[in-house]
Amino acid sequence: MATSTAPTSKRTMVERKEHATVTIRFCGDSGDGMQLAGTQFTNSSSIFGNDVATLPDFPAEIRAPAGSLPGVSGFQINFSSHEIHTPGDRVDTMVAMNPAALKTNYKDVVPGGIILVNEDAFSKTNLQKAGLDVSPLEDATLRDYHVYKLPMGKLTTEAASGFGLSNKGVNRCKNFFALGVICWLYERPLAPIESWINSKMGRTPAVADANTATLRAGWNYCDTIELFPHAYRVAKAKIAPGTYRKITGNEATAIGLATAARRAGKELFIGSYPITPATTILETLAAMPQMGVKTFQAEDEIAAMCSTVGAAFAGACAVTSTSGPGLALKGEAMGLAVMTELPMVIVNVQRGGPSTGLPTKTEQSDYLQAMWGRNGECPMPVLAACTPSDCFEMAVEAMRIAVQYMTPVILLTDGYLANGSEPWKIPKSSSLPRFDVVHPTNSNGEAFLPYKRNERGARPWAIPGTKGLEHRIGGLEKQAETGNVNYDPDNHQRMICERADKVAKVADSIPDLKIDGNPDAELLVVGWGSTYGAITTAVERANKRGQKVAHVHLRYLNPMPKNTEDVMKRFKKVIVPEMNMGQLIIKLRSDFLIDAKGINKVQGKPFLVSDIEAAIESALGEG
């Protein structure tokens, strides 16, 4: 097994240009290990001390035919010496492992940027698979770029042979060659990558050693042959001191839920059915039995939701996770959760719709469904995380609200947050909220009233096993206080209002909306969810340019913070970028009668910073 001393550059004379921010994209066939290369580059950059943001983009097929256009898989990383919020609009340096990848990706590279290709993959067959008659390496296609053709196949074979791997096994190391090259180019330390290789592949030392050797070969190759006129350097960012880890949105959600349950002194139950891009929440929690987590892979989303309701009745911190089509299936049972006023969290990781839609792509098109996708008057708190690590915080918040207000709570994230990652400053457990879960233990000799509310509007969470508090709940309308079935007209009206009031009262426990950017601006940009990074960056840039723009980002969608109306009405113009056709804006216009304008993009991918900048420009330009 290789030791983890990184090579030191022999070409000490190499000139390193300073860059503040760089965006890199690895792309290749889904079999080429691009996700892995990207992830490792991200780790290395984080540990080096940059701020980073990532955007994985993989095909819906498990393994589309090798070399085909639908089989292209990409991973983009933005890393910087200052704080950044997005994976970058345009790519500075791209690695393309085959013609299909090159074809579908090269246009995103900035003119004058670097394109590194694996020239061994530009065979006739592969060109055909990508629908190319002529190799783009041979015509004018790439004239605006600095193109470097590397025989990565051959070089990898040379580096990785001799460890006893099959040809296929050797060939699989290719991504580490590319990674080695990029690490050299941007002065990334190899040590974290090598230690990762050893910890993950250590069981089969031949594999670990071959990959390590290939990684170094990539580095050494650049260091030796003077391929690049100069290399680059992205200095460490000024980052708050603390312990950090890289975290994806789904990891953060899972960890947040497990943490919240323990802060409530309870077990976590998750009843869930696999669905892209939510599955990894279930998978992450399945690996945490030591935290008292019980995972139940249900037979479908309805069973997942119903089991969650059952577990909440039983007294667990109960959760279900899904994506759009699954949320649609859960609607009826979510109504039962509202009627029985049991605490639970429903995580919905939004993806491209409608119907099966674009399962692996991101979108924000379940806001309306989350708010209103149920029969009858069926209000629920709805939260939305805005960055991968914010998923942690909002997951904790969702559970807090659920148990404090005895209500199901929806947490919206999306495919971009779910798979995207960022460095996360790990909080201390003691800094996290503790929830006061008090299960009543007796009724002091009086008849127990399961629907008698406290000052928050919450009913008591009396759980089976408690002597003397035996009671029955269900989906029929209940009599106020007693919870008995009741068909009386006035009682129905009363209960409808009580349920709505309770949800409205959640506003008492949430922070006010914070105005970023210029609070005295004319223009306000209102966002929610994963557009946070793009909006923040665009607003920062606009203000730097001297435009006056403010930004608020709603993390609590229902109820909204108490100062929302004030904030909205303070600005002459309001624009609302959403990755949908205009959903939250319906509520904003209706609630506040403001003539907010929607900026809408439904393309299965996040806003570019430039999209938002253009929208700001045009909003400021108008009247």
Binding site: S46, I47, P192, W196, I239, A240, G242, T243, Y244, R245, K246, A258, T259, R262, R263, G265, E267, F269, G271, P289, Q290, M291, G292, K294, F296, A298, E299, D300, I302, A303, M305, C306, S307, T308, V309, G310, A311, A312, F313, A314, G315, A316, E332, A333, G335, L336, I426, K428, S429, L432, P464, G465, G468, E470, H471, R472, I473, G474, L476, V485
Partner: protein, 342 residues
């Protein structure tokens, strides 16, 4: 399953809630309710540890009438709600009450999966072969040709047989009882309650409003001896007014024979509820009126691990002592690759 003993024995009346029972007068549900109340005290489980869960239908009103914990959920989903509850709290004693529509039509999938997981609960399927609550449409157990409001020219739907379905879903306990045969119903309920795993009990229940007399062959004095066969473990399959008839195996099919004339009890099929494989139990579920007597009692009762107990052992379900949670949380938060910025 840790169960505490109650201080003094409970009486059936202790299980009655304060809610007025609202089934139609004459409905078979009354008898079943009464029998369940009689059975519970014998189990020695404190009533606060008992939970009744149902879906929607006439039968699903059941939990309201029991002074235990109860959940009248939504149509077809009782098994799923019960599964979550039992997985979260393996210490509870869980009963599911469902109907032929609730359990087999909309709820068929959850039934299949709860049964295969062998979650330890007792499932009572009240089979009246009709949708009662929605006022008389045919159900998945209604016979072909049945005229109802949605099948005015006679139903075209071939029925399911609940016990065959349960066995097809790998059931560890399967039984059948009749609403009006109180004693035998009591026996079956007790056996079901004591079985560890999903106990699936089909109860023939008369809906005297929309499907009156569906089981008159089995309840009428004149015919019941020829149409009912009471299963007893280890005993031959005998029926008839004078126990003069029996069931013999013909290859893999049952055959009715008359005892005497060279045919003795030893030639008959012997019941074995503990048979490792469910083929015998399955075969018994295929005996239908009018060609065969229908079997009542326990068809199958075998041991097999229960999902929730195994899962419970796998997970560390006791929260750490006060104070230690934080260490546990910090360990979780700091898992994976971390780095320090100073």
């Amino acid at each position: 399953m840790k169960v505490e003993m109650p201080v003094e024995p409970l009486k059936p009346a202790d299980f009655a809630s304060d809610q007025e029972v609202r089934w139609c007068p004459g409905c078979g549900d009354y008898a079943i309710l009464a029998q369940v109340k009689k059975t519970l005290p014998g189990l020695g489980i404190p009533k606060e540890k008992i939970v009744f869960i149902s879906g929607i239908g006439c039968s699903s009103r059941f939990p309201y009438y029991m002074n235990t914990y109860g959940f009248h959920s939504i149509h077809g989903r009782a098994m799923a709600v019960a599964s979550g509850l039992k997985i979260a709290r393996p210490d509870l004693n869980v009963w599911v009450v469902t109907g032929d529509g609730d359990g087999l039509s909309i709820g068929g999938n959850h039934l299949l999966h709860a049964i295969r997981r062998n979650i330890d609960m007792t499932v009572l399927l009240f089979n009246n072969r009709i949708y009662g609550l929605t006022k008389g449409q045919y159900s998945p157990t209604s016979e072909v040709g049945k005229r109802t409001k949605t099948s005015p020219r006679g139903s075209v739907d071939f029925p399911l047989h609940p016990l065959s379905v349960a066995i097809g879903a790998e059931a560890s306990f399967v039984a059948r009882a009749l609403d009006v045969d109180l004693k035998h119903l009591g026996y079956v309920l007790e056996r079901a309650a004591k079985h560890k795993g999903t106990s699936f009990v089909e109860i023939y229940q008369n809906c005297n409003i929309f499907n009156d007399g569906a089981y008159s062959y089995a309840t009428d004095k004149g015919t019941k001896h020829d149409t009912r066969l009471i299963l007893e473990h280890g005993k031959p399959l005998i029926f008839g007014k004078d126990r003069e008839k029996g069931i013999r195996l013909n290859c893999t099919d049952p055959e009715i024979v008359t005892l005497g004339d060279g045919i003795s009890e030893d030639d008959l099929l012997f019941h074995d509820e503990k048979a490792a494989e469910p083929s015998l139990a399955y075969l018994l579920t295929r005996m239908h009126h009018p060609n065969f007597p229908e079997a009542f009692g326990v068809f199958r009762a075998v041991e097999r691990p229960c999902y929730e107990y195994v899962l419970d052992e796998m997970s560390d379900s006791t929260p750490p002592p006060q104070g230690a949670e934080d260490a546990e949380i910090d360990a979780l938060l700091n898992s994976g690759d971390t780095w320090v910025v100073d």
